[in-house]
Every structure is written in structure tokens, then in C-alpha cells.
């Protein structure tokens, strides 16, 4: 029998073509990176329903609650959050540039813009923390306090997850040849980042603009 190539670690992320090599008559390509991306998109769609449910809850409370704002609270400051929004939304373009660099195999360009994305994400989280500390109401102050912290907190958790994923991808870019066989990790992280951005835009409109 012919000696053929296999990946000894049997790492599922890497497409191993040994099945087709063994039986050339079955022309069925087993595209594992494609599967992973497909599965990830399915997962994100599902994840978006959680946000959708929270948003629906928010709208129901806001339109129905008897005492919406806690006593002494008149509304939310929008200036700082607006700056935050601009930073987060522009980072979606920055991460896209990073991806283009990776695509043409310019690793340093990729790392630079990737790191910039991470910095912008971190700035966003920092801004969020500053805002939380300046507020006079807490998580348990009525349904307004509850939904405000629930939405911003749950979204913040996603931003944090995104930054952690980006950190992993950054480290992996130093492993020689890591991205030779496909860029699923980077593509998925970047998709996740766009997702987190879109959610934020809806959230910003609902919480800050619609007061």
C-alpha cells in the first residue's frame, strides 16, 4: 500500500485528507475548517436570540413599568458612551484590515492592526467601567437598574471574550506556520467581534438614545 500523509496529532482543526487519499474513488472532500465556520455561525445566530430576548424584556419593561427610573435618577449621560461607541464600531474596520494583512501573509501588519483592535476593545471596557462607577443606581434598583446592568454587563462579557480570543490568536501567530493551513480561528474571532459590535449598536440605541 502507498505510504500517505497523516497528521500524527489527529488535530481535528486541521483538514486531514487521508480519507480521500485512501479511496480516490469517493470524491468527497471532508472540509473540517468549513464545518467549523458553519457551526460557529449557527452558534452565533443562536446566541443572538439571548440578546434579542433581553432587548424584548427591556422594551416590555420600559413601555409598561409604573416606576421606570429609580428615584433621583433622571436619565443617562450619553456623551462618554457615544465616544465609546465610536471606538468600538471603528475597531470592526481595524480588525478587517488585520485580516486582510493575514490573508496576504504579512504577519507583522496583521499583528499591528490586531493589537490595535485589542486596544480599542480594552478602551471600550475601561470606558464602561468608568461609567458604571459614576452611576448613582445599582443592579437591584428596580427593573431599570436591573436591565441596564444586565444588558451592558452581558455585552461587556462578550467584549471581554472577544479580547481573550484575540489574545490567543495573537500568540498563535508566533507559532511558525500556524496559519498556513487556514485561518479559521482568526476568521471566527473577527466574525465574533463584528457580532459584538452590531449588538452594541442596537443596545446603544435602545438604552441611551431612546430615553
Amino acid at each position: 500500500m502507498n505510504p500517505i500523509e497523516v497528521n500524527p496529532s489527529l488535530n481535528a482543526k486541521v483538514p486531514t485528507d487521508h480519507t480521500t487519499d485512501l479511496h480516490p474513488s469517493t470524491e468527497h472532500h471532508h472540509d473540517e475548517a468549513g464545518n467549523s465556520m458553519f457551526g460557529f455561525i449557527v452558534f452565533l445566530l443562536s446566541e443572538s436570540v439571548i440578546f434579542l430576548s433581553f432587548f424584548t424584556g427591556y422594551i416590555v419593561y420600559k413601555t409598561n413599568a409604573l416606576d421606570w427610573l429609580p428615584p433621583g435618577v433622571t436619565g443617562l449621560e450619553t456623551r462618554e458612551p457615544a465616544i465609546n461607541t465610536v471606538v468600538l464600531v471603528s475597531s470592526s474596520f481595524v480588525i478587517y484590515i488585520a485580516e486582510r494583512f493575514l490573508h496576504v501573509k504579512q504577519l507583522w501588519g496583521f499583528r499591528l492592526f490586531w493589537l490595535l483592535t485589542m486596544a480599542m476593545g480594552s478602551y471600550f471596557l475601561y470606558g464602561q467601567a468608568v461609567e458604571w462607577r459614576s452611576l448613582s443606581f445599582g443592579f437591584t434598583d428596580g427593573v431599570f437598574g436591573g436591565t441596564f446592568y444586565l444588558l451592558t454587563g452581558f455585552h461587556g462579557l462578550h467584549v471581554l471574550t472577544g479580547i481573550l480570543l484575540q489574545a490567543i490568536m495573537l500568540v498563535r501567530s508566533f507559532i511558525p506556520g500556524n496559519y498556513d493551513r487556514g485561518e479559521f480561528g482568526v476568521a471566527a474571532t473577527s466574525l465574533f467581534w463584528h457580532f459584538v459590535d452590531v449588538i452594541w449598536i442596537i443596545l446603544f440605541v435602545l438604552i441611551y438614545l431612546w430615553q
Binding site: E5, H23, F38, S53
Partner: protein, 560 residues
């Protein structure tokens, strides 16, 4: 990358626990979908017995009008745990287990798309099973708020402890949700992308269609329940006021979140059972499935409609009149695609050469009881009627006819039908028929009396009742004990036949389907060479072959 010869590959791909006859792999973190499928099935049937014991205790209490067997709080815990265990630890895992076993085989794949995710999803089941059972040990005992956990009842926390039955309940349900989402991503990806060459959408067996439709429901429904559960958990633990009416919260919103998932969840449960019926009737009637494409597509229609019927659980929750009308209409609408399937099955059986062995008997019995449940379901969909019987035993009777009459029966049918494939052994037909007779009689004796009881006004979730209800309750309890007994021949048959049953051939039923073209049990990789599908399924009475390469799907295994 290294250069290896084919023999060495065989060793890598079939590591020690790989051989189909090695029982140790069932206790390992195996990534073989067939092992995982059986792990799910065995685990879930263990919990089926646990939930069954709770049911026996409930029926033991209800055999007399007075609350004499249990403390009322314990009774509350019993029905809560019965419902929760049966749904989250029996129904979902057993169906996922069966789907896990069958879907890759039926679409001609070597495994699921994400084998390790698959194993991780399975191992969460025993974990949350233990968490749920642990709630018997905490002060105050398990949750008592029913399987809906409606606030404000679920927010009471009488013992004041942070770790209480209700919190453990939510934790268990949350882990179950994560596991189900992981499974759903896996199934949808597998079905969409791992089909064998020539296996087009309209060549897939209906079972695969129904699993696909069911798992899509998990994907859009479960997150809504998760959202509601997260908010409930915050209410209970840190004192937010989302659902607490005393603090300005909205308890009805929780009901919306809950039923937005939990109603579609009944289709997650019943759709694969429709799939099982659609597989079994053609085999034992020796006729193609009537209206294959329509049956397949109506699964997806059910998925779509299932997202817009949930408020029929809330007709009595102060829902506005227009909402009641809308949801009454949608609920009646969803019986159309369901009715189409029933007609298709009847037409398949009609004039066929019936072979009444155990799987066919269970499937036929299941179909009859499902039709009965459908009739009471339509009655419940009508608002004036529902307001009258809401929260009575009529509802309990209705959904047990669905769940015992159709789901349990369908699941038994599937287990007998695919038992030779899964174990490589034949089951005992005599024990199987005994099991069927006991189950069919027990189900009707147990659950039929609940309908007159409900119409007379006996509320559900009570440990004592007015003596005028005594007669039907005694009948129901006797039926329940008969059902309890019915599991004995089943267990004996499954274990006994697995250990020393007759060896099963590839295709004992002369069934048409990819899974029947390979040995029983199939090898680790299922197919040495992927099948090339050339025909629609259910080609009974036709001469065309199903695949172009039936002789090359497997190599002789004796060599290693």
C-alpha cells in the same frame, strides 16, 4: 507531518477502546457517535427509572383522597422532580442519543461534524443529573415550584440559604441548555455538510429531516429560556426585581420567556418520534412512505409554526383578548402539518403486508394514542375550553398521552427496531410483545382517567382531593403501577439479549436504508468507503438499488 503506512493508520484510528465489542469504551470519553449515542440512551433510561419512581410515589399518594403518604412539601418536590427528570434527563437525552447513533449512519458520514464537542455535550448530562439529585440533600429539599418554576413561587426561598433546591434546579437546567445547544450546533452542521455523495436533501430519510427540524428549534428557542433563567437566577440570588411583582417586576414576562422555548420544546421531542414512525411503518408494511416529500417538508413547517404558538399555555395568565385569538388560531394551524403526517402514515400502512413484531406494535400503539392526544390537544387550543380545564388533570392527561402514548412508545419502537444494529444481537420477541401489552394497557389505564377527572374539576399539583374523585384516581394509580411493572420485561430483554441474544445479521428486517448496508454493529468508521447514494429512500417494492457501491462500503475486518 510524517509518512505512515496504512496499517499504522488503522492503529491510530482504532485505538484500544475502538473495537465494536469492547464494553469499556462506553465508560470512556469516546468520540465515536455510536458509543456516545448508546451512552446517552443508557444514561437517560437510568433516569427514566428515577423519574418513574417519583411517579410511583405520586400515584401512591393519590390512590387515596387524603394526603397520608407524604408531607405536602415533599409531594410538591416529587411532581417537580418527576417533570424535570423526565424532560431534561430522559426525553431530551434519549432522543439526542438515538439521533446521535442514527444520523451519521443514515446520511452516510463517518461521524458527527464535531466529535469532541459531541462527547463533551454528553458528559454534561450525568453532571447535571447529579446536581439535580443533590438538591435532595440541601436544607429545604428540592425545588417545589413545578417544572415551570414560575415566579413569584420560585422566588420564595423559604430556608434563606444561597444553595437551595431552586438554585440547584436552575443550575442543572442551565447546564442542560448548554449541552443541548452544543448538540444542536453539531447536528445542524452534520446534516447540512456531512452528507455522503449523492445524498441530496430529498434523499434523506425522514428521521434525519425531523432531527434537523427539531434541532433548529433548540437553536432559536433555548436562548430565550436561558435569558429568562438568568434573570430569574439574579432575582433569587442577588435580589434584582425582574420578575418580582412586589418590587415592580413582571412575572408574566417570565412565562413568555419560558413558553417561548418550552412549547417549541415539545416539538423538539415529538418531531424525532414522527421520524421514527416514518422509518418504521414502511419497513413493516413493505410499502414506500406515502407522500415522502410532503412529510419531510411538513417537519420544517412545524418548526416555523412552533415559534408562534407559545401563548396557548398562558390563556389563563391575564393575556389580552386579541392575543388569545391570535394564538388560538396559530395553535389550530399547527395541527395541519401534524395531521398531514398522520394521514401519510395511515396511507402507508393501508393495504400493506403488515408484520406485527414488537417495533411495529409499539409504533402502531403510539400512533393510536397520539391521535387521541391530538384530539384533546385541539380541544385545549380553544380558549373557552382551556379556561375551563386549565391546571386540571385534563391537561396532565393530554400531555401524558403525547409523552407516554407517543414519545415513550415511539422510543421503545425505535429501540427494538435498531437493537440488532446497535448491539449485533437479536432481542427476544416474546418478552418484547409482553412489554408492549403491559405498556399499552398501563398507559391507557393510567392516563385515560385523568380526562374525566379534569373535566370534573380536579386540579393538578395537589396531594389530596375531594373523595368524589376517588374512583378514577384508583384506576389511574393501578394503571401506573402496571406501567411500573412493564419496565421489567424491557430491562430483562435489553440486558439479557445484549449479553446472550442470537447474533444479528446486517439487515434482519430487510429494511432499506444506509445503516442496514453495513455490519451490525457497524465499525468505528461506519463506512470504509463513503456510500454513493443513487435513489430516494423507502424504495420498497421497487428494484432500483439505494447506493452504487454496496459491496465496497466495508472491508473484511478479520485482518485486524
Amino acid at each position: 507531518m510524517t509518512k505512515l503506512s496504512v496499517d499504522e493508520i488503522a492503529q491510530i484510528e482504532q485505538p484500544l477502546p475502538g473495537a465494536p465489542n469492547n464494553w469499556k469504551r462506553f465508560f470512556s470519553f469516546s468520540t465515536d457517535h455510536k458509543v456516545i449515542g448508546i451512552q446517552y440512551l443508557v444514561t437517560s433510561f437510568f433516569f427514566f427509572l428515577v423519574g418513574g419512581i417519583f411517579a410511583m410515589i405520586i400515584r401512591g399518594e393519590l390512590i387515596t383522597p387524603e394526603a397520608d403518604l407524604l408531607d405536602r412539601a415533599v409531594y410538591n418536590a416529587m411532581f417537580t422532580m418527576h417533570g424535570t427528570v423526565m424532560l431534561f434527563l430522559w426525553t431530551f437525552p434519549s432522543l439526542v442519543g438515538l439521533s446521535n447513533y442514527l444520523v451519521p449512519l443514515m446520511i452516510g458520514a463517518k461521524d458527527m461534524a464535531f466529535p469532541r464537542l459531541n462527547a463533551a455535550a454528553f458528559w454534561m448530562v450525568p453532571v447535571f443529573g447529579v446536581i439535580l439529585m443533590a438538591s435532595f440533600l440541601v436544607p429545604g429539599g428540592p425545588s417545589q415550584s413545578g417544572w415551570w418554576a414560575y415566579p413569584p413561587v420560585s422566588l420564595q426561598n423559604p430556608t434563606g440559604n444561597l444553595i437551595n433546591g431552586q438554585v440547584l434546579w436552575m443550575l442543572a437546567v442551565a447546564i442542560s441548555g448548554v449541552s443541548s445547544i452544543m448538540g444542536a450546533v453539531n447536528f445542524v452542521t452534520t446534516i447540512a455538510r456531512m452528507r455522503a455523495p449523492g445524498m441530496t436533501w430529498f434523499r434523506m430519510p425522514v428521521f434525519v429531516w425531523t432531527v434537523f427540524a427539531a434541532q433548529i428549534i433548540q437553536l432559536f428557542g433555548l436562548p430565550a429560556l436561558t435569558a429568562g433563567a438568568v434573570m430569574l437566577l439574579f432575582d433569587l440570588t442577588v435580589g434584582t426585581s425582574f420578575f418580582d411583582p412586589a418590587k415592580g417586576g413582571d412575572p408574566v414576562l417570565f412565562q413568555h420567556f419560558f413558553w417561548f422555548y418550552s412549547h417549541p420544546a415539545v416539538y423538539v421531542i415529538i418531531l424525532p418520534i414522527f421520524g421514527i414512525f416514518s422509518e418504521i411503518f414502511p419497513v413493516y408494511a413493505r410499502k414506500p412512505l406515502f407522500g415522502y416529500k410532503v412529510v419531510a417538508i411538513s417537519s420544517l413547517i412545524i418548526t416555523g409554526l412552533s415559534g408562534i404558538v407559545w401563548v396557548h399555555h398562558m390563556f389563563a395568565s391575564g393575556t389580552p383578548g386579541w392575543m388569545r385569538m391570535v394564538f388560538m388560531a396559530t395553535t389550530m394551524l399547527i395541527s395541519v402539518p401534524t395531521g398531514i403526517k398522520v394521514f401519510a402514515w395511515v396511507a402507508t400502512i393501508w393495504g400493506g403486508k403488515l408484520r406485527l413484531n414488537t417495533p411495529m406494535l409499539f409504533a402502531l400503539g403510539g400512533l393510536v394514542m397520539f391521535v387521541f392526544a391530538g384530539v384533546t390537544g385541539i380541544m385545549l387550543a380553544s380558549v373557552p375550553f382551556d379556561i375551563h380545564v386549565n391546571n386540571t388533570y385534563f391537561v396532565v392527561g393530554h400531555f401524558h398521552y403525547v409523552i407516554y402514548g407517543a414519545v415513550v412508545m415511539g422510543m421503545y419502537a425505535a429501540l427494538y427496531h435498531w437493537f440488532p444494529k446497535m448491539t449485533g444481537r437479536m432481542y427476544s420477541e416474546g418478552l418484547g410483545k409482553l412489554h408492549f401489552v403491559l405498556t399499552f394497557m398501563g398507559t391507557n389505564l393510567n392516563f385515560f382517567p385523568m380526562h374525566p377527572l379534569g373535566l370534573q374539576g380536579m386540579p393538578r399539583r395537589v396531594a389530596s382531593y375531594d373523595p368524589e374523585f376517588a374512583f378514577w384516581n384508583v384506576v389511574a394509580s393501578l394503571g401506573a403501577f402496571l406501567l411500573g411493572m412493564s419496565t421489567l420485561p424491557f430491562i430483562l430483554n435489553m440486558i439479557g439479549s445484549w449479553v446472550q441474544g442470537e447474533a444479528a445479521p446486517k439487515n434482519p428486517w430487510r429494511a432499506i436504508g444506509l445503516e442496514w448496508l453495513v455490519s451490525s454493529p457497524p465499525t468505528v468508521e461506519n463506512y470504509e468507503e463513503l456510500p454513493i447514494v443513487v435513489a430516494e429512500p423507502y424504495g420498497y417494492g421497487k428494484t432500483e438499488p439505494l447506493v452504487a457501491n454496496p459491496d465496497r462500503l466495508e472491508v473484511a475486518h478479520e485482518s485486524h
